[in-house]
């Protein structure tokens, strides 16, 4: 049996809203093997992004088992989850979410520096070179195009030793051609790093590139 990168069992997430409690995840059971690429499709509001946030430990599950990279995130405190995240998880968002006041290089170096890595800047520079943006190292996010920002985000996700990449609609804010290039880059990087990739997308063609495909509806996951 291969190592499991992600193992969610009967995960529930209830969030408070102005209109009352919302059952975002309703008993999700879901596994991703190490090095495997998995896609998750589903309509807006079905809980895909929430599943990613729970998997990253950014949103604590209301109940259920959340094992990521062999660690039970439900027993870890907030700071322990943060430390785990910076060592094992890379994140790519639709809206890029780069820190606006930091340069491309600094954005990539930040998680490494937070982890106290002495070679943070060297590794960040190497990661930036891997995504073909060495000449943009000193540029602020506002000085980069959308595609360039997403490449910086991918470099940031892989600059450390992450073996799990969580991608939330990574091409949603990009045009078709740029989006295709980003997809190539992301899959290539995941393959080089032997990382598991959990990709949330609306794009069925993109979903089909993954080893396995899942569908999400009404807070529950089923294999497509």
């Amino acid at each position: 049996m291969p190592d499991l990168a992600i193992d969610l069992q009967d995960v529930r997430l209830n969030l408070e809203s102005d209109a009352g409690e919302v059952n975002v995840l309703r008993g999700v059971n879901f596994k991703v093997n190490a090095g495997e690429t998995v896609s998750l499709v589903g309509p807006s509001g079905s809980g895909k992004s929430s599943l990613l946030l729970v998997t990253a430990g950014l949103e604590p599950a209301t109940s259920g088992q959340v094992h990521v990279g062999g660690r039970d995130l439900t027993v870890l405190g907030e700071d322990a989850r943060a430390r785990f995240r910076r060592e094992r998880i890379g994140f790519v968002f639709q809206a890029f979410h780069l820190i606006p006041s930091m340069t491309a290089l600094e954005n990539i170096a930040t998680p490494l520096e937070l982890a106290g890595r002495w070679d943070a800047h060297d590794r960040a520079a190497a990661a930036l070179a891997d995504v073909g943006l060495s000449e943009r190292a000193g540029h602020l996010p506002s000085q980069l195009s959308g595609g360039e920002q997403q490449r910086v985000a991918i470099a940031r996700a892989f600059a450390g030793d992450a073996d799990i990449l969580l991608a939330d609609e990574p091409t949603g804010n990009l045009d078709g051609e740029t989006g295709a290039a980003i997809v190539e880059l992301m899959f290539a990087q995941a393959a080089i790093k032997k990382a598991a990739l959990l990709l949330v997308t609306h794009d069925t063609a993109l979903a089909a590139r993954c080893t396995r495909q899942f569908r999400m509806a009404d807070g529950q996951v089923s294999e497509a």
Binding site: A82, R83, R85, E87, H97, I99, T110, A115
Partner: protein, 853 residues
Amino acid sequence: MSGQQAPSDAAKDWRSAWTIARRELRDGLGRGLAGFRIFIACLALGVAAIAAVGATRTAVEDGIARDAQRLAGSDLEARLLYREANQEQQDYIKSLGRFTRIAEMRSMALVGERRQLASLKAVDGGYPLYGGLTLSPDIPAEQALAQADGAFGAAVEQAFLDATGLKVGDQFRLNKTNLIVRAIITEEADRGVGLLSLGPRVLVSHEALDAAGLAVQGALVTWRYRVALPPGQSADAARDALKAAFDDPGWRLRTAAEAAPTLRRMIERLSLFLTLASLAALLVGGVGAANAVKAYMDGRARTAAILKCLGAPAHVIFRAYLMQIALIAAFASILGAVIGGLTPMALTGLLADILGVRLAATPAFASMGLAALFGLVTAFVFALWPLAAAERLPAARLIGAAALGISGIRPARGRLWLLALGAIALAALAVLTAADKMVAAAFVAGALMATLLFLGCATLLIRAAHRMPRRGGPLFRLAMSGIARPGAPTLSIALSLGLGLAALTAVTMTEAAFSSRLDRTVATKAPTFFFIDIQPQQLEPFRAILKDLPGVTLDGEAPMLRARITHINGVPAAEAAITDDTRWAIRNERGLTFAAEPPAATPIVAGEWWPADYQGKPLVSFDAAIAKGFGIGLGDTLTFNVLGRAITAEIASLRQLDYSSFAMNFSTILDPATLKPAPHTILATASATPEMEAETTRRVTDALPNVTVIRVKDAVVIARRILDRVGGALAAVAAMSVIAGALTLAGAVAASQRRRVYEAALLKTAGATRAQIIIAQGIEFALIGLVTAMLAVGIGALGAWAIVTFLLQTDFVFSVPAAAIPAGLALALAVSTGAFGVWRALRLPAGPMLRNA
């Protein structure tokens, strides 16, 4: 429709603007004016401070006017120095109404081995004419002061008992007679506010004063003849009639309407400075208000852009938001004015104790209205830039760039002119409504300079932060970018919080410099004692006593008379054109002396000293600084009223005096031939080692009981008490500026909260622990606090240096404690407010910020 005239375009525009304003305001009110709370607080605080100062002044002045007869003790008073009015004069005054005769002087009370300086007041059965004297136990004054059980009675202030250890029923001695303390004075309305009233009050009868044998010729006694006129009679008419009946140049006549002149002057002066300090608080609050309007308009950028897309002209949008801000500013100003207007009620007890005046409870509508007007004009000046920027918002920002708000948009040139006009109106309002326009103008100039200095220095520091090498880890980098990024509130925080703290630093450091100067003077130059009222025939025994005491040296002695300047170059002094800062010199009788030789301590800066054996027309050597204020010089004349005799003397020389030295200082010295025949006493100063102080006092007063001994230390204590009170009042108002600055800081933190929450979410995603996030944002606020503290202390110290050097003309000393308090306050305020922001940011989950829009 045909019968109605279509409204003009201008009217339509105003109507449209009002419609938009109303709807926007409805939305704002629906959310409890959430975006305007800091705006309202900043404005209301400054307005409340101005209104409070104005209302308190009105309440004190109205209180004085209402209680004028109680405070003056009469409808009309005739005052004479050194000598009694003759019988004819007294009979005339008696014929005007109810009458009382009072003698006041300083003397030493003897309590066993102890000697206590006392402010003696001898009264007759008619006193007090208008009440205002309360004794404990509650017995009539006549009964308290009467002779019984072989001694005269006395009513004394509690301070007298505290100093001597006596209690009611105990005896003490006054020169030749014994007195029994029969009551404690709990209220003496006509005492007035003597800034340097040394010695607690001892109230006795004229019979007791006569028995004590103190009111001898040449002794410094003030005689007061007071009358309560029958109802309906004019005090002014009575005064004029009295003046016409007896042409006595020694008279000082005062009606009740002129009661408490020192207090009135003090209140006027103090309220001027407090109003200006309050105005500083309002200006600091203005910065906070501007920030609040900017944040509001940032949030309204989308609405403004949609309105533009729908065809609303720019000026309609400007007017719509101006109307909203004006309405909210009016609310804030009225709120502040009402709070300030009610302040005197809260201060009644405190001020009654300090000033001896019962405050009037009349509402001070004029002060409140003026304060509200200041609030409105300030709001206009500070809100104009963000409003005018919103006016120029390109509709294109609606697409994609609405989040930028109004940042980076420069208002139209016409609006900048309007802004300049508003600023000039605010400055003009401050100057024109001030009692002393020069001081107010200097304040406006100083405020402008401090603001420019602050903006300049803070901009330089922010640029330096921007250019610093971007090393040192992500936490430090994030902090630096938080300070230096475009649109960061660093400048407004540093300006608003810093200006308030700079004002506080200036006040505390000026006070510290003054206090330190006082200490150094006392320690090095000041004598230990002043001996007053030494009779010429007592001079030899006096010298012998001091010579006999080890560790005691006689520093100086000079004959002394009290005289008033009545004419300057033949012009009545009251009508002469003299500067305000020298007016004190003509107000009352001042001490003067005569000498054959020039005094060593005061150098002659113009003219020549008279020959030792000079016999000729009267000559005077005068203080150069006062002469300058009088606009006179060598060869000009001054006329003095000396014991009822007019002496006109020509200025032969001018001397430079240092009044702060506590040494013997006479502004006026006449040639000996002119004054020697006049009855006078001797003033002497002496230095003594601390252990010889009590012995010296005892030996001198035992042998010469009429001689009054004043310890310089006691005068210093009183001077320091006054300094503390004035400094305290100013510091309290400067604290208002600090509060306004703190509100601005809180507003800036609230405005940047969304950015903070987002950054915290990104850092969490990147694996930052809570401690790391706290450190990152903590560094940002610590740095802002540090920059603010440095600028506040630097600029505050510069202000204090200017005040100390040029206004007080003394040495400036950088006081570390005076600097540490505002600096610590800046750091603590910045870090605690920032910490609160971070704490709130950390409590929010990262998810909502990171979900796809």
